[in-house]
């Protein structure tokens, strides 16, 4: 009997591989395989009109961090690249922190409503999440542009005399990313708060804990997995953001995503673009590893 079911099990596993094949082939051609080719390209010479020359070179990787002076050949840090990298990380961290600050109360509010209301509010958070990112960024653009709604309103009310120059700045990108990625913070936070047993708060109060102490000692440790997933879910797309900085950011205040694009357009330096993409991928990988570590640790505590 047991050998029979073993045989069945084995057959199933074999079928399993066969059934997965089409998906895996498609992914190999349309996602994973090209990533490996991109890695190879980062070690080639740039072609004159884009594309590459098939000669091994570590110049692209070198150029990411260091630049050679065109006159005297001295080496100095590649300020432009480092500034862009730093701006991307800074804006992404700011976005993550701010979405948490406003996302946590929102998730808490939703989780403490009666079931019917909760479903509705959750649905209301989910709609923007699935709504075209381009459209949502465009909506923010229309609010904050110089002749947009915000400026028109403030001018009419006489609060300001000249339009606020918000759009095409780092701040505009920050507003846009916060708006666009907020649902990604609220949803996992809600999921962890929802599982949270409210009696624990009551117990905390009964033991004479202050509100702040309850928040810090009882609530935050328990909803930590949600905080971590939310932060990762916001941080990763923020770091790789392309559409939002393109629509709301200034031409010079690029984020890494836009700078990568530039290398494949006017920059005509595909290897450099490939190397920068690999770096972006590495940062994301590190973030994911940290996430898995933390998430597992949280599990073993519970």
């Amino acid at each position: 009997m047991s050998t029979d079911s073993d045989r069945l099990e084995r057959q199933r596993n074999r079928n399993g591989w066969l059934l997965s094949t089409p998906a895996l082939v498609l992914l190999a051609f349309g996602a994973t395989g090209p990533l490996l080719i991109m890695f190879v390209y980062s070690f080639l010479e740039p072609g004159k009109y884009g594309n590459v020359i098939w000669e091994f070179s570590t110049k692209a990787w070198f150029n990411v961090f260091v630049q050679r002076d065109i006159f005297d050949g001295t080496l100095s840090p590649a300020d432009a690249h480092l500034t862009i990298l730093w701006r991307s990380v800074k804006l992404s961290l700011m976005t993550t922190i701010f979405t948490f600050i406003v996302g946590f109360p929102t998730a808490w509010f939703i989780a403490t409503r009666p079931p019917r209301m909760r479903t509705l509010l959750l649905f209301l958070i989910t709609i923007p999440f699935w709504t075209n990112l381009l459209i949502r960024t465009f909506a923010i653009n229309q609010i904050i542009r110089n002749e947009g709604l915000l400026n028109t309103l403030l001018l009419k009310l006489g609060i300001i005399n000249e339009p606020l120059l918000i759009i095409y700045s780092d701040f505009a990108v920050f507003i846009g990313m916060t708006y666009v990625y907020l649902p990604l913070m609220v949803l996992p936070l809600f999921a962890s708060i929802d599982r949270f047993d409210m009696r624990l708060v009551e117990a905390g109060y009964d033991l004479y804990a202050s509100r702040w102490q309850v928040l810090k000692r009882v609530i935050v440790p328990i909803v930590k997995p949600g905080i971590i997933s939310g932060s990762i879910l916001v941080f990763i797309p923020s770091l790789g953001a392309y559409v939002t900085p393109r629509i709301l950011g200034g031409g010079r205040n690029m984020m890494i995503g836009n700078f990568i694009e530039l290398q494949f357009g006017q920059g005509r330096n595909w290897p450099l673009g490939a190397a920068l993409s690999v770096i972006l991928l590495l940062i994301v990988a590190v973030a994911l590893v940290v996430y898995v570590r933390f998430a597992n640790r949280g599990d073993s505590n519970v």
């Binding site: 059934l19 998906a23 709504t131 002749e147 947009g148 709604l149 009551e202 629509i247 972006l280």
Partner: protein, 267 residues
């Protein structure tokens, strides 16, 4: 002290912040929709109601072209993604986790983890050499790319559906001398169907919304609706884009509502 239980769910300021968040989340989108009906070209000053921007957008050959292209890509890619994702979901659920399966699972979800811009660049590099080698410039590249990144969106609801499935039903069918095909056709497939339809809709919406990957993969003259809109946004007058956005928004909301109703029935 007696209102202690009251304070459990109402930490100070939380409600205010939450309400503000909901207002701020919807206000910009609402304004975008409202001003698509504005008879002037301003996005801030209301000059009267009109529907003229909708026919005007549709009369634009580029918009019409891009719409049709978007729909062709989204429907083809989402159908392909759903079929292969259903097969993969059948293969990776309902049995003991092996190392091979974890590997498949990671590969399938890979498009969710890699930043879109990185995938876009990698595809640009890969497809550029294929374009040179074969001379083919058609929609095949966009459909391949879209189908690939749609796989996880189709896969997840199907997997969720299969995990809640009673395995003994298939055994019962086999005991009643059903062939493996009959078991699949009359037992497994009907049970998977709601998940597959939900997956199909998510994949369709995801494909329809994509900007970044499309922008890098498309050949000249292959604009989809989102890439066309992206090119228009920096212009001074964008009312036409408002109208297109409103229609796309409507479509998304309809699909999502259907998705929610479909997945809720299960519970």
């Amino acid at each position: 002290m007696f209102n202690r239980s009251f304070s459990i769910s109402r930490l100070p300021g939380f409600t205010t912040i939450a309400i503000l968040v909901f207002v701020m989340l919807y206000l910009p989108i609402a304004m975008l929709v409202v001003f698509s009906f504005n008879s002037g070209t301003s996005v801030a000053i209301w000059e009267g109601f009109t529907l003229e921007w909708y026919p005007r957008a549709w009369a634009n050959e580029q918009v019409k072209d891009a719409t049709i292209r978007s729909l062709i890509i989204a429907s083809t890619a989402s159908v392909i993604a759903t079929i292969v994702a259903t097969m993969a979901a059948l293969a990776t659920t309902r049995r003991k986790q092996t190392r091979g399966q974890t590997f498949v699972y990671i590969l399938i979800n890979q498009p969710l983890m890699v930043p879109e811009i990185v995938t876009a660049v990698a595809l640009l590099i890969f497809f550029a050499s294929i374009k040179v080698a074969t001379g083919y410039q058609g929609l095949g590249y966009l459909i391949t790319a879209h189908a690939a990144f749609c796989i996880p969106f189709a896969y997840l609801p199907i997997r969720a559906r299969l995990e809640g499935m009673d395995l003994t039903l298939e055994t019962a069918a086999a005991d009643l001398y059903a062939t493996p095909w009959q078991t699949f056709r009359y037992v497994t497939l009907p049970l998977v169907m709601p998940g597959a339809i939900a997956g199909l809709m998510l994949a369709f919406v995801t494909s329809l919304d994509d900007v970044v990957i499309t922008l890098f993969v498309k050949s000249a003259g292959q604009d989809t609706l989102p890439t066309y809109m992206l090119a228009q946004i920096r212009r001074a007058v964008t009312t036409e884009v408002n109208a297109i956005s409103t229609l796309l928004l409507g479509l998304t909301v309809i699909m999502l509502t259907a998705f929610f109703l479909l997945t809720r029935k299960r519970n």
